[in-house]
C-alpha cells in the first residue's frame, strides 16, 4: 500500500469517526467538540502565522471577538441573516488586521507581539463599554445558522457546519503551504534580504498572511456568535488569546494537524480540570489558572516541538505536493528573459563611494561587467568587497556615485527591484531554509516568475504554474548535479552542496547577471573543484557571472577579468595573468617586501 493511499484511508477513517460523534455522544460532549472545532479554526491561522512564519500574535481572540460582535450586531439590529452577515464580519476583521499589520509588521522584533497584547486588552474593554454593543452583558438572542430553511438550533446540527468548515479551511491551508506563496511564507523566517533576493516583497507576504490568519479567526467568531447565540466580552479577552497560543504550542507550532491536536488536548484538559479540581480544593478556578500557566511554561522548556514531535515517528511522512512529486514535464516551460548580446555592457559601476560615519569603506571605485564574461572582484580582508557587493545588489544605499544595470540607473533602487530586473545573488553566509527540501528551496528562486497568489494557491488552482516552477527547479538542480536528492532537507546537506543549492536558487530566477558572494569560503578542496567546474559550465552556457572572493587562487584560474580592491580603492582591473605581475596587487597580498 502506498503512503498516499494510507493517508487517504486514514483521513476517511477520521472523517467517519467525526461524523458519528453526534450520534454517539450527548449534547454536552458535542458542544465540546464544537468548541474544539471553532478553536481549531483560529489555531490553524496561528500555525501559519506564528508557527511557520514566526510572527507572534497574542491578540487573535480580539479578531474572533470583532467578527462575533459584528455579526451579532448586524443580526440583532438589522435582522441580517447569518450568511449575509458573514462577508461583513470577515471584511471588518480583515480591515482591522490590515490597519494593525500595516502599523506593526514593518517593525522587527517585539513591536508586533507587544502591540498585540495592547489590542488584545483594548478590544474586549471596548466591547464592555460601548452601549451599542450591550456593555458587559453582551448581545443575546442572535439567530442560529440556518441551512435550506431549517434552523440549526441544537449542538448536534451545528456540529456538522463547524467541522465541515474546519475541514475546508484545513485543506485550504494545506494547499496554501504547498504553493508559491506558501514557499515565501515558509521562508519569512529567513529574513527580508532572502525574500528580496528572490523578488518577493517580505512585508507584503507577512501582511497578507496576518490578514489571512485574522480572517480565519473571524470565521471562528462568526460561528461562535451563531452557535452560542450570545456574545459577551469575556471569551475574547487576552487570556483567550494566550489559550490559542497554548493550543498552537501544544500541537507542535508548525504543523497544521497540530492545530486540531492542540485544540483538542487543551480544551479536553480544561474540561477535566473543571471536573476534578473542585473535588480537591475550594479554590478550583484559581488553581486551574496556575496549573495551566505552569504546564505551558514546562511545555516551552521541555517540548517546544509539541505533542506532534512525540508521535511524528508513527505518522507517515509529510506528503509532497502533487506538483512537486510529478516528474512529468509541464506543457510549456516558464518564460525566459531575452539575453543581452554578448559583450554588451551589463553592469557599470561608476565612482561609487560608501561612508560608514567616519570610515570610507569604498572610495571612488568603478568597473564594468559585460555580458557573457566572468569577472572576479578580489582583495584582502577589509578591502571593501562585501560592501561593494551590497551596494550593487541594493542591500546598502551608497553615499555617492552611480550604478547602472542593463543601461538603467539602479543607484536608488531597492534590493527587490534590482532582483526583479534579473540580478541573481547568493549569500556569503548560506541562507537556505534548512527544513525545506532542496527542491522547495530552489523553487523559491523562481518566485518572481509565477503569478498565483494566496487565493489561487489555497484553492489549488495553481497546478499548471506550479508544475512549470518545479520543472524549472528540477532543471536547475540537474545543472548543479544534485538530481535524485531533490526531496532531502536542505539543512542536511554539507556546506559545499548548500552553496551549490544557493546557486541553483539564483539560477531559477533566470538571472541576466549572477553575482556570488564568497562562494568558496569554508569549502574543502574537492568542493572548490566542483564549484569551479560548475561555474565554468555556466559560463559556457552564456551566463554572466561576477564573483566576489578573497581566495585568490580559486578566482585566478577561473575568471576572464579581475578587479582588485584594497582599503576601499581599486588597485587593478585587467586579465588575471597581468594581476600576478602587478606590483600593487602583490604588495597588497604579500606585503611591501615582496
Amino acid at each position: 500500500m502506498t503512503s498516499t493511499l494510507k493517508r487517504r484511508l486514514g483521513l476517511l477513517v477520521v472523517m467517519a469517526a467525526l461524523a458519528s460523534v453526534p450520534l454517539l455522544f450527548g449534547s454536552f460532549t458535542v458542544s465540546l467538540f464544537n468548541d474544539i472545532g471553532m478553536a481549531t479554526l483560529v489555531v490553524l491561522g496561528l500555525v501559519l502565522l506564528s508557527g511557520v512564519a514566526g510572527i507572534t500574535s497574542f491578540g487573535h481572540a480580539a479578531f474572533v471577538g470583532i467578527a462575533a460582535y459584528a455579526t451579532a450586531w448586524l443580526n440583532t439590529q438589522f435582522a441580517l441573516s447569518p450568511w449575509l452577515a458573514l462577508p461583513c464580519a470577515l471584511a471588518v476583521t480583515a480591515l482591522c488586521a490590515v490597519l494593525i499589520g500595516a502599523l506593526t509588521l514593518r517593525l522587527g522584533g517585539h513591536y508586533l507581539p507587544l502591540s498585540t497584547i495592547a489590542w488584545g486588552l483594548s478590544v474586549p474593554l471596548l466591547f464592555g463599554n460601548l452601549t451599542m454593543l450591550g456593555r458587559h452583558s453582551g448581545i443575546s438572542d442572535i439567530a442560529p445558522l440556518s441551512v435550506a430553511g431549517r434552523d440549526l438550533m441544537s449542538a448536534e446540527a451545528a456540529f456538522y457546519v463547524v467541522w465541515i468548515m474546519v475541514g475546508l479551511v484545513g485543506l485550504f491551508c494545506h494547499h496554501l503551504l504547498n504553493s508559491r506563496m506558501g514557499r515565501a511564507i515558509r521562508a519569512v523566517r529567513g529574513g527580508d534580504v532572502l525574500l528580496s533576493s528572490v523578488g518577493a516583497n517580505s512585508f507584503h507576504v507577512r501582511l497578507m498572511l496576518f490578514v489571512f490568519s485574522a480572517v480565519l479567526a473571524a470565521l471562528s467568531g462568526w460561528l461562535y456568535a451563531h452557535v452560542n447565540r450570545f456574545v459577551s466580552p469575556a471569551p475574547f479577552s487576552l487570556h483567550a488569546g494566550i489559550d490559542y497560543m497554548f493550543m498552537m504550542v501544544v500541537g507542535g507550532m508548525g504543523q497544521l494537524v497540530g492545530a486540531v491536536a492542540g485544540a483538542t488536548i487543551v480544551l479536553a484538559l480544561k474540561n477535566v480540570l473543571q471536573d476534578v479540581l473542585p473535588l480537591v480544593s475550594q479554590h478550583a478556578a484559581q488553581i486551574q489558572a496556575v496549573v495551566f500557566a505552569a504546564l505551558f511554561i514546562l511545555l516551552l522548556q521541555n517540548a517546544r516541538g509539541g505533542v506532534l514531535s512525540l508521535v511524528s515517528r508513527v505518522l507517515p511522512r509529510r506528503p509532497v505536493s502533487p506538483a512537486a512529486a510529478s516528474t512529468e514535464p509541464a506543457s510549456e516551460p516558464l518564460e525566459r528573459r531575452t539575453m543581452p548580446t554578448k559583450g554588451a555592457a551589463l553592469l557599470s559601476v561608476d565612482a561609487v563611494v560608501k561612508r560608514f560615519k567616519g570610515l570610507v569603506a569604498v572610495n571612488e571605485v568603478g568597473f564594468e561587467v559585460r555580458a557573457g564574461e566572468m569577472v572576479g572582484l578580489i582583495g584582502p580582508n577589509g578591502a571593501g568587497k562585501s560592501t561593494m557587493f551590497n551596494l550593487i545588489t541594493g542591500t546598502l544605499g551608497l553615499t555617492a556615485g552611480r550604478v547602472e544595470f542593463l543601461g538603467e540607473d539602479i543607484t536608488r533602487r531597492s534590493q527587490r527591484e534590482i532582483a526583479l530586473m534579473g540580478m541573481g545573488r547568493t549569500f556569503q553566509h548560506v541562507k537556505l531554509r534548512p527544513n525545506m527540501s532542496v527542491l522547495d528551496n530552489v523553487a523559491l528562486g523562481a518566485h518572481a516568475r509565477g503569478r498565483c497568489g494566496m487565493l489561487r494557491g489555497g484553492l489549488a488552482l495553481d497546478r499548471e504554474e506550479e508544475r512549470r516552477i518545479y520543472d524549472e527547479a528540477r532543471r536547475q538542480i540537474a545543472r548543479i548535479g544534485l538530481t535524485g536528492q531533490e526531496l532531502e532537507a536542505a539543512g542536511s546537506m554539507p556546506l559545499g552542496t548548500q552553496r551549490l543549492i544557493e546557486i541553483a536558487r539564483a539560477l531559477a530566477s533566470d538571472p541576466l547577471l549572477l553575482i556570488l558572494d564568497e562562494p568558496a569560503a569554508g569549502l574543502r578542496k574537492p568542493e572548490k573543484t566542483a564549484l569551479a567546474e560548475l561555474l565554468r559550465r555556466l559560463r559556457e552556457e552564456g551566463v554572466t557571472i561576477m564573483i566576489v572572493e578573497h581566495d585568490m587562487d580559486f578566482v585566478m584560474k577561473l575568471v576572464d577579468r579581475l578587479v582588485v580592491m584594497n582599503f576601499g580603492t581599486k588597485l587593478f582591473d585587467g586579465a588575471p595573468q597581468e594581476a600576478r605581475a602587478d606590483k600593487g596587487v602583490r604588495a597588497a597580498y604579500l606585503g611591501d617586501a615582496a
Binding site: G51, G54, T56, G108, P113, S122, G190, G191, R304, K431
Partner: protein, 351 residues
Amino acid sequence: MTWDIALILSVDGVAGAAIYLLAGLGLVLVFSVTRVIFVPFGDIAVFSALTLAYLEAGRWPPTIALVAVLAAITAVKEVVAHLRHGRVAKVPAALGTWLGLPLLACVPAQLLAGQELPPLVDIALTLALVLPIVPLMARLVFHPIAHASTLVLLIASLVMHFLMSGLGLLFFGPEGFRTQPLMRGAVELAPGFLVSAQVLLMVGAAAVLAGLFFLAFERTLVGKALRATAVNRTGAQLVGIRPASTAALTYCAVSLLAGFVGILIAPSTTMYYDSGLIIGLKAFVAAIIGGLSSYPLTALGALAVGMLESFASFWDGALKDVIVFSLLIPALMIRSHFSHHSDDDVEEEEV
C-alpha cells in the same frame, strides 16, 4: 474643563508618570540585559502593594508562604540538576543561594508581622519580602530557556504573568487593598495651588530612584558589566562577565524597583491581584516610545502616558486604558518611519 481642573489633572498625570518611569526603567533594564520582555513587572508591584497592606493591617503577609514555596521548588530543581550531573559538592551552595537567602529575607517579616509597626519598618519588610520573588521566578522560568528565541521568551513571560496573577489570587484573595498614605497634608506650591504631600513624595522618590539607577549604571563597575552585557553578550562573556550572574543581579534590581512601584502606587490606587498587567503594559507603552533602549526617551514616554491617562480618565473613566494604549499608534508610526531594519541579519531560530 477649567484651568483648575487641568492643573489638578496635570498633577495626577505627573504622579502617574513617576510610577511609569520607574516601571519603564525596570523593563528596559531587563530587556537590554536578558532579552526578556518582562510582562509580569506589574504583578510584582501588586505583590508588594498587597504585602504592605497586610503588614499595615497587622496581618501575616501570605508573601512569606509564596516566597517559601518558590524557594523550595527552585532549590529542589537546582539540587536535582546538580545530583544528576554528579556535582555533589555544589549542592550546599545551591541550597544556600536558592533556599537559604530567600528564607533569610522572610525571617524579619515572620518575626515582626502582626505587631503595630512604624510605616518605614513595614516598607523595609515589604521590600525584603518582594526582593527574592523575581530572581526565583526567573530562575525557574527563564533560566532553562535563556538561549531560546526572543519570541519564545516573550511567550514565556506573558504566561508567567498569568501564573503570577493566579498565584496572587491564590495567596492574597480577590479583595482589593489601599494602603495608608506615607505623608498627609498638602503643600502650597503657588498661591492657591495645593499639591498633596503624597504626590510630592511619589515624584520625589521616583526622581531619586531614577537618579540612583543612572549613577549605578554610569559610575559603578557592576553597572558597566550590565551595560556591557546589554551591548554584546558574547563580548561581555569573553572579558569575564558571567551572563547568569548579571541576569540574577538584574532580576534583583527589578524586584526592588517593582517593590518601590507597589509601595508608591498603593496609597492612591486600590490594588487587586490582577491590577498588574495594565500597570506593566502602560510602562511598556512608555518603554516603546523609548525604543526599548533609551532611558531618557522612556522618561519622556512615561510623562506622556501619565498625562494622557490622567486627562483620559476625566473624559471617560472606563475607556482610559484603551486611550492610553492608542498612544502606541503614533509611537509605532514614528518608530516604523525611522526604523533601519537593523535586525535583517538576525535569523530567527526555528522554535
